[in-house]
Amino acid sequence: MQSVDPQNGRTFWKKSNKVPGGMRAVYGAMHPPITRSPRSSPRKEAGPRKAETNDSFQEFQESVNDAWDCGDDEFCVISDVKISSRLVQSAALSVINSHRSSQLMTSTPPSILPELHHHHHHHYQRSHSPPPPPQPPHMEEEEEEEEMEYPHCSPGFDEENLPLSRLDPSAVIVPRAPVIAASDSERDMARTEKFLEVINRANTSLPELRKLSWSGIPTRVRAVAWRLLNGYLPANSERREETLRRKREEYWSFVDQYYGTRHEDLHQDTFRQIHIDIPRMSPLIPLFQQGTVQEMFERILYIWAIRHPASGYVQGINDLVTPFFIVFLHEVVPREESLDTYEVELIAAEQRAVVEADSFWCMSKLLDGIQDNYTFAQPGIQSKVQQLGELMKRIDVNLHQHLARQEIDYLQFSFRWFNNLLMREMPLGCTVRLWDTLHAEPDGFSHFVLYVCAAFLTYFSHHLMAQRDFQVSQGCSYYLESIFTPVIRGSCRPPVSSDALAIQGRVDGQGMWVFLGHSTVQKGFGFLRGSNSGHRERQSETLTTLLPPPLLC
């Protein structure tokens, strides 16, 4: 359990009042102080633990470096993103070719209501509603289970993560044709079946679904899985249809009730801000330039803002709708169509209404967990920025000191990471994949994202260490972008053909694995990577030393 160490009474996370982000006092501002508040200050894990920190972590990290080579998870095979694009391309082509035959074998599109086959598994306990609250990750009861559900990957590339499949949202930035359906591999089908089996139970086990989802959700079931993990769709399958019907009606009654107020004096600033942000949120994806789509976003954001006056609409929240919108839209767009150019007008109005309402509710649920990111002075972000600094000091002290020498505030670059949940730093397909994991983690969006950001930094540590003069040579953000973007995108050159796009998208997915894998190692959770039981003890120790308590009460 987390508590202040009773022995020395000091908090583990925070000693100095200086905020690592270099925030200075804000004059005349009535807002929570920028220095830590009791609520947001991370506390120390109780229990016997030596005062040593960095050294032991580095030892630990070295000791688990071999986890990268274990082959027990997909990212292992791509733990080095410096794979030559030629290699990637040829491997991708071979996978594509080998699966091209199965391309024609299409699977039925998922129903919007996931009521397909209701296997009633009576050994599952009776429904609880709402779904059980997420547990802190280190308390997860499945910890003891050694057998993980994750399929073992064979050397080579993991088709499931190719954004080549019809339903993979990477297709949004990657035209699907001509390489769609490569994911309809046996393995993918098996995974999908496994998901469906869990989803369609009379009472879906969310811990089980989380465990399955952590390493990626097959595109066919992603929308339903997200609705469940998000807490929007009840775990009890009998209640699902009714709940969805009711919530969707409720959303549209909000629209009737509030949307007409958008030009009134009181609200016109809010609406104006939303209105000017929507066209520039994903400016290069044609889908988001469609009037119909922009209006859907405007309604979603405006209704949310009106109903959440404590934060209102804050730039960046608009980005958080996009993944839900894409995933839910995917359910209703004909398979053969390219999502990034599909004319949304062509979708039946009722279906569009469903996409919009579900996006609204899922985004609302997500924001419920991170609302202090957007209230006045954005204390949630400030505390995460601060924690990122603390975390980096422990896991990569060299980089931390380097940044300090360069007078780089964590606030300068990581504010946006937390504010937009890394959506500005990654291609949309990568974000969707990342969100599989964030959804699978209890407190993923409020808490685990911190580790993903730390993984980002440590992954690029050697690039950053090589940079001598951030402040005067160029902007820090620009510089970080110039490092991240080519690596994440897997290529420094803009893609020239749809094949190259597909491959680039595929490398995107791999880059994602590296980050997630990296964050996994840092967080050291043996229970999620159960086959590394040899490291269990040390990982547990690291858990207690590395895990700050949940940020939100």
Binding site: Y27, G28, A29, H31, D277, V314, G316, Q412, F415, S473
Partner: protein
């Protein structure tokens, strides 16, 4: 330009402020990278970029901080006003509201920035002639009344962007080089070391009892 990045005589921190969507980020990218992006995304928090120019044979490196325009970000962005020796207060000549908000931005600067900060009022998007809703003369008169310099620019077609930055940096340079004489007796830092203008500590700043809403 033409100087190595790390060689300069003065380093000036300048902030870009103004309502959301008036073109602050594009003014910055036009000046520092000669780029304009119709598809630019909204700025979140703060970002900065630098460029050096020559004034009187001295190399001046401008470190320009671009801020998010939305009100919610002011708690974050205003922290970056400190230490700034110049501010470009930008509005959109085609959107009256962004001009009407200039007074609020001035108050923002007076509350959070150094009192000697050099402020330039910038009417951006001057290429949108047919949509103009803020007369040049009116803005000019307002600037004079408030003791600000004034210019209209277009980040899109580059009009006056170079001039705007050049003028404000020169103005700052004149003030700084004048101030240095009584301070140190020398006006030349040895070895081209950084000179930043330290803000005078505002102990007698007017009461900050406004809550920012």
């Amino acid at each position: 330009m033409g100087n190595r990045d790390d060689e300069y005589d003065y380093l000036f921190k300048v902030v870009l402020i103004g309502d959301s969507g008036v073109g602050k980020s594009n003014l910055l990218s036009r000046f520092t990278r000669n780029e304009f992006n119709l598809e630019s995304k909204s700025t979140i928090g703060v970002e900065f970029a630098t460029r050096s120019i020559e004034v009187d044979g001295k190399t001046i490196k401008a470190q320009i901080w671009d801020t998010a325009g939305q009100e919610r970000y002011r708690a974050i962005t205003s922290a970056y006003y400190r230490g700034a020796v110049g501010a470009l207060l930008v509005y959109d000549i085609a959107k009256l509201l962004t001009y009407n908000n200039v007074e609020r931005w001035l108050k923002e600067l007076r509350d959070h920035a150094d009192q000697n900060i050099v402020i330039m009022l910038v009417g951006n998007k001057s290429d949108l002639r047919h949509l103009r809703s803020v007369p040049t003369e009116e803005a000019k008169a307002f600037a004079e009344k408030e003791g600000l310099s004034f210019i209209e620019t277009s980040a899109l077609d580059s009009t006056n962007v170079e001039t705007a930055f050049h003028n404000i940096l020169t103005e700052i340079y004149r003030i700084v080089s004048r101030q240095q004489l009584p301070d140190t007796g020398t006006n030349e830092p040895p070895g081209g070391k950084t000179i930043t203008v330290e803000p005078t500590e505002e102990t007698n700043r007017s009461t900050n009892n406004c809550c920012a809403r």
